[in-house]
């Protein structure tokens, strides 16, 4: 190591020591302190670089180790998620059938949406489905979690059982539902006919016409309440028992304890549940085609949903640009709902 370099290192070290002493001594001015700290960090970096004598400083090596941890996931994530997302935005402004020349459309794809009857039906149905499913699932899962958080016999069995619908494959559970609610042969309609004397021609057609959205909502609540129940259960276990003891001492009844302790304490859990539920509801596709779809899974205007239309336009009609325009509408709604919920959460937290 050259003498000049040693001297250089020494002066830098001296400056560093002085700065550290100053910061340790306490600096009144916050801005000044911040300035000193950043100067220290910079000096430390140059020093370690100079000392080790190599161009690769210790920080750089540390960064490399960190990147080696991230790389296996990040490369896959970047290639198969980030890049397609960028393409999705571009595609919405193009006209392409996947093989011939690409044409720039500007906003024409979006204008076309306005006069598309099938799109409007898909949009309306998806919104109705979400408005029904989100609050019902939330209430059902919260109620179930509160019950299963108490000391009841066979709690573990009940918990496991309520998770079965979530774990079970959609193809399997929808085929059972279709049998149970079969319009002419199913046990539900048999009960309506034999026990409640509903005439044959008035027996409900659960999976077509006006009732179809209701059936989709009820099925979704049944299938997903167990999942959100677990999230609520985790939230409930985070509430300190002392709060309830204090409540009891003040003579609070069960409802008051729920209103003044449980519900406020669960606010962030509820927020998470509602955001996740909303995102998942707007993605609905397979439930609709399996419960309401015809032989080859086709949906009519009474049961169509946004994702079904994205799929049809892309993989059946090969109208890729238009399909992406529909996808952008889906994205915009999800984004809007999430932002509104975040804003609301922030407002109530203050």
């Amino acid at each position: 190591m050259g003498e000049r370099k040693v001297a250089e290192i020494n002066t830098l070290q001296a400056e560093l020591d002085e700065l550290i002493a100053r910061v340790c001594g306490g600096i009144e001015n916050k801005k000044e302190e911040k300035k000193c700290l950043s100067r220290i960090e910079k000096l430390r970096r140059t020093l370690s670089k100079k000392r080790s004598g190599s161009r690769l400083s210790r920080d750089f090596k540390r960064d490399l180790v960190s990147y080696s941890f991230i790389a296996p996931n990040f490369i896959g994530f970047a290639v198969f998620t980030l890049i397609p997302i960028v393409f999705a935005f571009a595609l919405a402004f193009l006209k392409w059938d996947g093989s011939n020349a690409i044409e720039f459309m500007g906003l024409k794809n979006f204008k076309r949406l306005g006069s598309d009857v099938f799109f409007k039906a898909a949009f309306k149905n998806t919104i109705i489905y979400c408005i029904g499913t989100v609050p019902l699932t939330m209430i059902a899962s919260l109620a179930l979690a509160i019950i299963l958080n108490q000391k009841v016999r066979g709690r573990a069995i009940f918990r496991t059982l309520s998770f079965f619908p979530y774990v079970g494959s959609l193809v399997a559970v929808t085929s059972v539902w279709k049998m149970l609610f079969h319009p002419s042969k199913g046990p539900i309609n048999s009960i309506l006919y034999h026990v409640f004397n509903v005439p044959v021609d008035k027996l409900p057609q659960w999976f077509s016409g006006g009732l179809v959205l209701l059936s989709l909502i009820l099925f979704s609540v049944w299938k997903y309440m167990g999942y959100y129940m677990v999230i609520y259960l985790a939230g409930l276990q985070g509430i300190s028992g002392e709060l309830y003891e204090a409540g009891s001492l003040d003579g609070a009844n069960t409802w008051q304890k729920f209103k003044y302790i449980t519900w406020p304490q669960l606010r962030s859990t509820t927020f998470f549940v509602v955001v996740m539920l909303t995102i998942n509801c707007f993605k609905v596709y397979d439930i609709a085609i399996m419960l309401a779809g015809g032989g080859s899974g086709e949906l009519t205007t009474s049961s169509t949903v946004l994702v079904y239309y994205i799929y049809q336009k892309a993989f059946v009609d090969w109208d890729l640009g238009y399909s992406s325009a529909v996808a952008m509408v889906l994205f915009a709604i999800v984004l809007l709902v999430t932002v509104v919920q975040f804003a609301y959460q922030k407002k109530t937290a203050d």
């Binding site: 960064d63 180790v65 960190s66 941890f69 991230i70 296996p72 996931n73 990040f74 896959g76 994530f77 198969f80 998620t81 397609p84 997302i85 393409f87 999705a88 595609l91 019950i147 009841v152 009940f158 496991t160 059982l161 309520s162 079965f164 774990v167 079970g168 494959s169 959609l170 193809v171 399997a172 085929s175 059972v176 539902w177 049998m179 149970l180 042969k185 199913g186 048999s190 677990v230 999230i231 609520y232 259960l233 985790a234 276990q237 985070g238 962030s268 859990t269 998470f272 993605k283 596709y285 397979d286 899974g297 994702v307 994205i310 799929y311 890729l320 399909s323 996808a327 994205f331 999800v334």
Partner: protein, 282 residues
């Protein structure tokens, strides 16, 4: 005295109401599955017989469970699904926990920016970009290849997010002490962090296993030839072809449920703990 008596009576009523509600919910949850099991050993005529309804028919039709393997190439579907699910779950567990360790415990350049890229995509439904993703995979020659589903499922932002939340709950002193003892970051990850993260890993395993096993839309877009199809696709294909072979459909459904139920039962004792500690509750 009278007061305590009325209080215990009050408690008793509360208990009864509680159990009645529980039993109703449990019945709602269980009946479809009981029906499925019962119908899977019935003939098509017996399936809808309500008067009288029998749970187990006099002559159980076990042949449904044999026939389902010959009516459709069930063995191929099972093989494909098992292969996909195991590979995806292993990749997901490894890459997510590996990346999450760096995000939670290491300092490096662009850390926040990179993590933001993950967070931003969690709220982005896959359905928004499934079309360009398909076009890209097709140009890679992955159309109708099982590898496409692996690429699609194995690198989720969700897994990284979940594992990071969990690791942040582990005190820094542990890794600091190990660093002073001269352990490399890789050793700290494998010897200290991994053994501690059983609840989070179990939770992620359940989610990934269930999602991959039950996925329908992904395989529907990518897997076209019968020899590549998964159980879900195969079962759906069977249902639309033989829509009135109820006993067979139910037997196939029961078969498709068994692996996920087993995985769930094995890992569930860590599950609530996992959800609680990974910040999934918000």
């Amino acid at each position: 005295m009278a007061k305590t008596k009325s209080k215990s009576k009050h408690d008793l009523i509360k208990k009864v109401v509680l159990y009645v509600i529980l039993i109703i919910i449990a019945a709602l949850m269980a009946i479809p599955f009981i029906w499925m099991l019962s119908a899977s050993i019935k003939s098509d005529r017996e399936v809808f017989q309500m008067d009288p309804f029998v749970l187990i028919p006099k002559n159980p039709k076990w042949s449904n469970y044999v026939q389902i393997w010959t009516k459709i190439p069930m063995l191929t579907f099972v093989k494909n699904t098992v292969f996909l699910t195991i590979i995806v779950t292993l990749l997901q567990l490894f890459t997510s926990s590996f990346a999450a360790y760096a995000f939670a415990k290491l300092q490096f350049k662009f850390r926040n920016g990179l993590f933001l890229a993950y967070i931003a995509t969690i709220a982005m439904p896959w359905q928004v970009y499934m079309v360009p993703q398909f076009l890209m995979m097709r140009s890679f020659g992955l159309n109708d290849k099982l590898l496409a589903i692996i690429c699609l499922q194995a690198f989720s932002a969700f897994g990284v997010f979940m594992m990071k939340q969990f690791y942040e709950g582990i005190p820094n002193e542990l890794s600091e002490a190990a660093r002073i003892d001269g352990m490399t970051e890789y050793q700290i990850y494998s010897h200290i962090m991994l053994p501690l993260s059983k609840p989070a890993l179990s939770t992620l395993t359940i989610f990934t296993f269930v999602n991959t096993w039950n996925d329908y839309l992904g395989p529907l877009i990518y897997l076209k030839s019968t020899s590549k199809k998964t159980i879900q696709l195969g079962l759906k294909m069977f249902i639309s072809q033989y829509s009135s072979d109820y006993g067979l459909i139910m037997a196939g459904s029961v078969l498709s449920l068994i692996p996920v139920i087993i995985v769930f039962m094995c890992l569930q004792k860590y599950f609530v703990e996992g959800v609680a500690s990974t910040g999934l509750k918000g």
